[in-house]
Subunit: 193 residues, 2 copies
DNA sequence: GTCTATAGAAGGATAGAC
DNA sequence: GTCTATCCTTCTATAGAC
């Protein structure tokens, strides 16, 4: 069995994804992680806020690694973006519309209520934008265009997650994915790649 | 002073927008609405869930009316969309990145945890998509293209709200707004309007 | 360092006085 | 129908036994 600390982090990430930050209780976390209550404050002296910050950064890193994996397996930038949206739609359906963005719910909850956690979500989002833009530059885009394409793709993805989860259909991800693919290929054409 | 019931609805809508559903307490609501605690259960016998459902539908209706107002004041469909994104960015900055979508936070919180409220958010989102698509049809788009353009615009808007609130910049709304305007005009060109 | 017990505040909900 | 007092649960956090 994984170390207690890791089990707590994994369980918390899962609960945050489905129930959000305020909707997840510490007692619920230790119960599902099969850990004694005291373990939380032993491993995370800063309490729920420290645990939350670590989970946000960790989930953000892991989700970005998934993005890199899919992009590396794809033939090119354009098809990689299409694969990512398609994979997101499949995951969403397979998990009964539960597993979308690991931190979006928490990000909205803390945006105006908890400054340290808001900063954690900002760091994650900024790293995603920078990482996706880097891939765009490698594919031939100018840095400026690569950044706006990255922002656009991520807006389409996050927005589609909201509609898909609420409406329980994958329509929005299909539309957003098609738009993302089209935008990327147009941008590559415009920057002469 | 407005009737107690309306004050409760207004206050709850405001608190949901900033703190979300689980993050908003009934005691907090009556305190800010200057109402006695019993008023909640007098006007909303179904408790927090009934109140939440009414607030979601009401906020959704009001936000759509804002959309209609801006569209009616604009010269055409394309510039109306641009105005809406520009207005959203101004509001966001003016409210210290607090006032974005009135129901997105709640929608993500309840998507996998409260079926009646999930349905309320689904009804609102579906009405937004249908309403925006109707405007697209009136502007000359085919029904199919109008719907996908509507979904695309809304994904861009909701996604941009997440990034803007977390990063405390209006970059994402600017990028998303430009993309939305471009997509709408391209669609109108393709459908020969 | 693992784990239990409990404190103290806040959560939703109810009963009933006026 | 306005308003208060209170119930029970759950929350985060701490103290301290082992």
């Amino acid at each position: 069995m994984a170390p207690t600390r890791d089990r707590i982090l994994d369980t918390t990430a899962e609960l945050f994804r489905h129930h959000g930050y305020t909707g997840t209780g510490l007692k619920q976390i230790v119960a599902e992680a099969s850990a004694p209550f005291g373990s939380i404050y032993h491993h995370f002296p800063g309490g729920k806020e420290q645990l939350g910050g670590e989970v946000i950064r960790r989930s953000g890193r892991m989700y970005y690694e998934l993005f890199e994996l899919i992009m590396d397996q794809a033939d090119d930038f354009v098809s990689g973006v299409g694969d990512f949206f398609a994979g997101a739609a499949m995951t969403l359906e397979a998990t009964d519309y539960a597993d979308a963005c690991p931190i979006a719910t928490v990000a909205l909850e803390v945006a105006s209520t908890n400054e340290p956690l808001r900063e954690a979500t900002a760091e994650v989002f900024e790293s995603w934008i920078a990482g996706a833009a880097e891939r765009g530059v490698a594919a031939g885009l100018s840095p400026e265009r690569a950044r706006s394409v990255a922002v656009e793709i991520l807006c389409l993805l996050e927005g589609a997650f909201i509609f898909c989860r609420a409406l329980r259909t994958t329509e929005a991800l299909a539309v957003a994915g098609a738009r993302a693919v089209e935008s990327v290929s147009e941008a590559l054409g415009a920057d002469g790649a």
